[in-house]
């Protein structure tokens, strides 16, 4: 079984334009993954399946992950010109000031593929692909034409995360019903308001239940007048 570095070099040797990056895995499981660029993902997947040494003919698992937008606070040294009075004369002086800046690092959605080989009995080889952001550019190429087992799993990721897999033969919702809006597995999903009876509510649920009770009591109070 080849290591991640060997697989990366094999891919780059066969497909010179493919951008492949190793993503190390800090845990003791040692399952490092390869990040693929969406443009060349289909070609890389075909190579991995058809190559006689790797023979990764079995796609075991397709997972969706949500990486939300992060607000990063950092201290930055900024050089600014400022007017100061020196010896009674006004001069423009450059001064260095430390500022606290907040910047928004855009999040993305990710799809992770676990591949094994039934013929050579080795694995796993893990591939990853990220979308550009979480709102508008959420397309990724579908690997269903290469491995049929991605069919239902990519549909589920479309349903629960919102990644649109281009080239999928039948992209519809899988677990939620067809008219459902929103994507439940995202980190910023808000559940619908059905908190009528919550006898042992805690934290978030308690807050929502109290809001629900207040919302019901309000119109009654208004109508009672």
């Amino acid at each position: 079984m080849k290591t991640v570095e060997e697989i990366k070099s094999a891919i780059e040797a066969a497909l010179p334009g493919a951008a492949v990056e190793i993503v190390p895995n800090p845990s003791v499981s040692g399952q490092h993954s390869l990040r693929l660029a969406p443009e060349s993902a289909l070609a890389v997947a075909k190579f991995l399946r058809d190559n006689s040494d790797l023979a990764l003919d079995y796609l075991s698992n397709v997972t969706g992950i949500d990486w939300p937008d992060k607000v990063i606070t950092e201290k930055v040294k900024v050089t600014r010109p400022s007017i100061q009075t020196v010896d009674g004369v006004e001069k423009t002086v450059e001064e260095t000031v430390e500022e606290t800046r907040k910047r928004l690092e855009p999040g993305s959605l990710e799809a992770v593929y676990h591949l094994y080989s039934v013929e050579k009995k080795h694995g796993p080889v893990i591939l990853r692909m990220r979308t550009i952001d979480r709102t508008e550019h959420v397309e990724l190429p579908s690997l269903t034409p290469i491995w049929r087992s991605a069919e239902f799993q990519e549909r589920e990721i479309f349903d629960l995360y919102g990644i649109v897999f281009t080239g999928h033969p039948d992209l519809r919702r899988l677990l939620m019903w067809a008219a459902f809006k929103d994507h439940p597995m995202r980190k910023d999903y808000i559940e619908p308001d059905d908190f009528e009876y919550e006898p042992t509510a805690h934290d978030e649920v308690l807050k929502r239940a109290q809001e629900h009770q207040a919302a019901i009591a309000q119109p009654e109070a208004g109508a009672g007048q």
Binding site: N25, S29, R49, H114, V118, R148, F152
Partner: protein
């Protein structure tokens, strides 16, 4: 049994779309009858719907629809600790809670590198193989019932299942929702009295399989209804991610107990039965033969089980925070490859918790197997896939 077929060499030469269902042209005036089989249906193994388009009796299109039992287990797991997800894994494939627990514990142990003591490994194997036995028994029983046997073989299978569930209750406190595995071992130790009772039950199991085989394996009705029905070719099975008895019935030699050798499975001497044709009859016989192999493993494990601790001494029940990283752990569950993919961010709750459900992925080829057959065979083919909706929908 046939050898495994080499198929990857020819995958590259396949034409475009070779692994999509081949559409059938309806005959006659082309008027199709659309039937929704389910979700309220005695034979759909749970709340499951199949939209079939029929030309007379022949199936032209079949679309599975599920999600009726979706409980968003994966999102719940992101909000509770790792240990608190263990009882929820019981409820995934609710016929085999032990193997669900085992797969989750294995994934967490891969993430953290914990070691499992020997006695705990033996206990895991014993309970896992008992689970496999009762799962295959009830699966075959349900399949025969769907053929019209009015429940008699099913009740024989359930009689054995009751003995095994009694053993589970005496050990773990509950018949089905056992909550038994922990990260680094098992929760409750088995007393010598329990092991003796298990040995007695296991000694009575071969007689049940003999009775079953005599009842059914040469039954003409069974053979006529299942042989040649629902054929699944090996290369399509591998490409579609099918695992478990369904894959082995198509002749592909891939059993994760042999391939990965997780736990202590490489110490036991057991064979992997393979099928020739990949039809419903092969899947039925594979499950029967796997029950015999499970008995072999059980006898060996019950003989060799050592004394000792059952938990990793460094494991703690509260304040469990694995270091950041990810791991994918999988086992050979009775239904197929059950895997858990965990991403940890260093906190007490997992960042991402994913269940790789064998039942859902085995359903990918349902349409391929049913096209061209009569609608009466759809129930049989579906029953031979052996799914549980708790796992499909999570």
């Amino acid at each position: 049994m046939s050898e495994s077929q080499s198929h990857s060499a020819t995958l590259a030469e396949r034409p475009e779309g070779w692994n999509r269902p081949a559409l059938i042209q309806p005959s006659g005036d082309g008027e199709l009858l659309e039937v929704a089989m389910g979700p309220h249906h005695p034979s759909t193994h749970g709340v499951f719907r199949m939209d079939v388009a029929l030309d007379g009796e022949r199936v032209i299109r079949l679309r599975p629809v599920f999600g009726y039992l979706h409980r968003n287990h994966e999102k719940i797991a992101e909000g509770i600790s790792y240990l608190a997800s263990m009882p929820y894994t019981d409820r995934l494939d609710y016929i085999c809670p032990i193997t669900n627990n085992w797969a989750y514990a294995l994934a967490v142990e891969k993430l953290t590198g914990q070691q499992v003591p020997e006695r705990a490994e033996y206990l895991r194997v014993i309970l896992g193989e008992l689970t496999r036995f009762q799962n295959h028994a009830s699966s075959i029983g349900f399949l025969i019932q769907e053929m019209g046997a009015s429940g008699t073989p099913l009740m024989y299978a359930f009689r054995e299942r009751e003995k095994i569930l009694d053993l589970f209750e005496k050990l773990t406190g509950a018949r089905m929702m056992v909550n038994y595995m922990r990260f680094g071992g098992c929760r409750v130790d088995a007393s010598p009295a329990w092991l003796d009772q298990t040995r007695k039950v296991v000694a009575g199991l071969p007689q049940f399989i003999d009775e079953f085989e005599q009842l059914l394996a040469t039954n003409e009705i069974l053979m006529a209804r299942t042989q040649g029905v629902g054929v699944l070719k090996a290369d399509l099975a591998v490409n579609a991610g099918v695992t478990g008895p369904m894959l082995r019935a198509s002749g592909v030699n891939y059993d994760i107990r042999k391939v990965d050798g997780y736990g202590i499975y490489n110490r036991f001497d057991f064979r992997v039965p393979l099928g020739d044709h990949g039809d419903v009859y092969d899947r039925f016989m594979i499950r029967l033969l796997e029950m015999r192999e499970s008995i072999k493993i059980l006898e060996q494990a019950l003989k060799d089980i050592p004394t000792g601790p059952i938990m990793d001494p460094k494991a703690k029940s509260r304040g469990f925070r694995p270091k950041p990283g990810e791991a994918y752990g999988r086992i050979e569950a009775p239904k197929g490859e059950l895997g858990f993919y965990l991403i940890s961010d260093g906190g007490p709750n997992p960042y991402r918790y994913r269940v790789r459900p064998p039942s859902l992925i085995n359903l990918t080829v349902l349409e391929d197997m049913c096209l061209g057959h009569d609608v009466a065979d759809v129930v049989l083919i579906f029953g031979s896939v052996d799914i549980v909706l708790g796992e499909v929908d999570r």
